[in-house]
Amino acid sequence: MVYLAPPHLASAARPSYGEAYSNILARHRRSPLTSASSVILLVAPDVDALCAARMLAELLSQDDVMHRIIPVSGIAELEAMKDELATYNELHTLILINMGAILDLPSPTWFGEFSTKLTVHVIDSNRPQNLGSLFGGGDIGDRIVIWDDGEAENMEEERKAWEALEAGIQYIRRSPHFDKSPQYEPEPDSDEDSFSSSEDEMPFDSQDDVSESSRKRKLPIDSAHSRAKRQKVNERHPSPNQMSRDQRLHYQSVVDKHYTRGSWYSQSASATIFILATVLERADRDLLWLAILGLTYQYTSSRISRDTYEKFHSVYHDEVIRLNPLPPSTKTTADAITALSPDDHSIRATEEFRFTLFRHWTLYDAMFHSSYVAGKLGIWKERGRKRLTGLLAKMGFSIPQTQQPYTHMDLDLKHQLRVKLDAIAPEYGLVELTYPSFIRCFGYRAPPLSAADAVEAISALLDVAGGVRIEVEVEGARHGGEWFGSGRVWKTGRPDVNDSAKVPPGENGGAHGDGGEDGLVAEERTEVPWWMKNFWAAYDALTDIVSLRDALSLSMSLHRAIIRQGTTIIDKQDIRTMRSHRVVVLSQGPDLALFAHPGVLSRLAYWLIDALRDKLPGTKFTHGKKSLPFILACLNESTSTYIVVGVMGALEFGDVRKNEFGLAFINAKDRCNARSSHNSFNTSVLEVDREDLKMFLEALCEVGEGY
């Protein structure tokens, strides 16, 4: 149950992050069976979770706590993992990072039946959270600890509603008339997986099918706490039979509203861990840098709005100044930052442009590949490209200059870039070109790297470090440079991995992929899935600047592929407009294998939204404000399925909307019985069988109207 209030709301009676952490330590030291599997971190595969895991691992190893980090890719994986974890009897702490907020953890299908000494901590930035996990008490409920960021304080109404409904159900279940009173069946915990399809577990509510699952749930009858609560609630509402139908409906609607508003993101997991570190007075530069990366990731992947970003940014800015005292003469303009000494690993605050990776590309390329500029100037047409060159010319950059990699550009041009952009860009409609961010020096080993670039590199590694063949440009290869030919195939640079010639047949060759094992041994050893390899590659790159910089070129190819695909889509006018949303189906193209990954597909979706923001009118999807709902489906030839991604774009740049596709997908799936599965923690990503796609899309249209 317990949700942990953040430290600024904590008091003696209300434990907060620090106490939870010291409990973990105390348990670890006290238990006689302590081993490396006593504390396990389950980590979702996104940049924020990666940073949070790294920070937490650092804190734990400084306290000499042995722990294990296990990446988990989706809900199905989490279930399998849960079954395995039930067999570890030295496990006493489980920490879920960026997963599990929506799941009903106290229930028997999750952790309700685990031993009493297990505590589950949930550090998740996904919202909405499950009310049962937040407010449920009792024996089991008290062992589920959700690290909240203060929003749960404002959920009094939901809490009341949930408790009332919960008491109603428990009362009803004890009454002999249970089977005969169908009108009381709807369950309060509307996240219970109530689908009969065995493939997947949906954490969302369905209004129809309820009775089986309510019967399935175990009552903590013996717990005095819940009995007391029931009695207490019964005093408030004399008995649920007498709870008026109106009241019950009202509570039900409150709870439903909580779950059906759509999904959004709140305080990043890395921010939570950073607050923990500050409470423990162990915040230092490395932890701060990772927290900054988590925040920047949330902003650049359109998960939080500009305002939220600025709020957290100012907190980090103060921390930066506190931890990195600089001699007053150092300059902090973005182009003038250099390391002061070989041991200089400090973080500085700068203004960052919205051009992706602009310090590593030519200026023209950076502007070309940024979705904001692309949208405003209409890059996909030749006319748009001329406008871009025109803009650059007006600012005083000659064409050869803009085709130089940034590092070779003239110094005075670099200095003037910001000023000129501010002056001239508004004419073209480009207004919000900069945002405040941070940059870190790495001594003399590498030039300073900005937070946004680091996030780009790491998410590229997470998405495509292995498992797909992608070509990377070699510097100097353009315009017939020294190296003729376009580039080399990306390989995760680890010299000890034996790239033996024996690639198991049928595997995706290329990259370092799955072919690292000897052919004979591969049959005995279970192949590490590609996403796990990516996870560890990205995890290592978090602190290794050399591999991080290598990954930048990977990121650049990824962007190029996205642009290629995006421009084709817009050119061919492949976007079908349905009544309440827009659909794009990708079934052919050179990069099809690349876009079969949900991460890359979502990026394409956001690029399209940014590009077309001004050209398209907003629509209301189900309820709520006007937005730009987009659905992208990409064919995965090897598995004969379509990966479907739904994103909700906001009408203004820098704003975000709650993503309502999770619920819509489930409803549509229900209606048409398409064979499909959810493979990741993001409920707006779905995998649909090839033949069922059309049916599914049609059902989705009906869903849009039905609300």
Binding site: S61, Q62, D63, D64, R282, D284, S341, P342, D343
Partner: protein
């Protein structure tokens, strides 16, 4: 190490570093600890902000976990090393340096460069010292004969470097000189 592998049958530098880590070094602890018994002795208590002397291995361990600040020994600073370097380059003998200075300096610079003033200058001075002393070792080897070789004031790493070659060479020289004596004795 500049010696080819066949001659490298001696203690490795990492082992030397381990041996050197037994030496006591002063720290500024950030945590509290009672007087605790370890295998090599009892150390502590640690009471911030009072300084304490503990073995280098323990100091390094605490520093990695950010639980202390290491106070560099009095010879590990720019002035001292500068002075020794100028002495090294002006006299033909080795100058007096703490016996295990190379290992201790490396250990401290690896984990605690922020506790040392001008860490990069210190690194470059140490490098210069090593090169100067290495040149002297080479000259000294040229004077090798079968009975003795004395290199006063050389330090543990340098001795370790020379040892395999030295032993082998001494052996050969002794053989040669014995043959020479035998031949001289055989001729009446």
């Amino acid at each position: 190490m500049a010696l080819p592998p066949p001659l490298r049958t001696s203690v490795t530098p990492q082992e030397l570093e381990l041996i050197a880590s037994e030496q006591l070094v002063e720290i500024l602890p950030l945590i509290t600890m009672e007087k605790t018994a370890f295998i090599s002795g009892a150390y502590g208590p640690l009471r911030p902000p009072a300084k304490c002397r503990i073995p280098l291995w323990m100091a390094v361990n605490l520093k990695v976990k950010k639980k202390c600040h290491i106070i560099p020994p009095d010879w590990l600073n720019v002035e001292f090393l500068q002075e020794r370097l100028s002495r090294e380059t002006s006299y033909p003998e080795f100058s007096q340096m703490p016996f295990r200075f190379a290992e201790i300096a490396k250990a401290i610079l690896d984990v605690a460069p922020d506790d040392i003033q001008n860490a990069d200058k210190v690194r470059s001075l140490l490098k210069d010292l090593r090169e100067a002393r290495q040149a002297k070792s080479r000259e000294g080897l040229a004077k090798l004969d079968h009975s003795e070789l004395s290199l006063p004031n050389s330090c543990s790493m340098e001795i370790n470097e020379l040892r395999p070659f030295f032993i082998h060479a001494m052996g050969v020289l002794t053989q040669l000189s014995r043959e020479g004596e035998d031949r001289a004795a055989a001729q009446p």
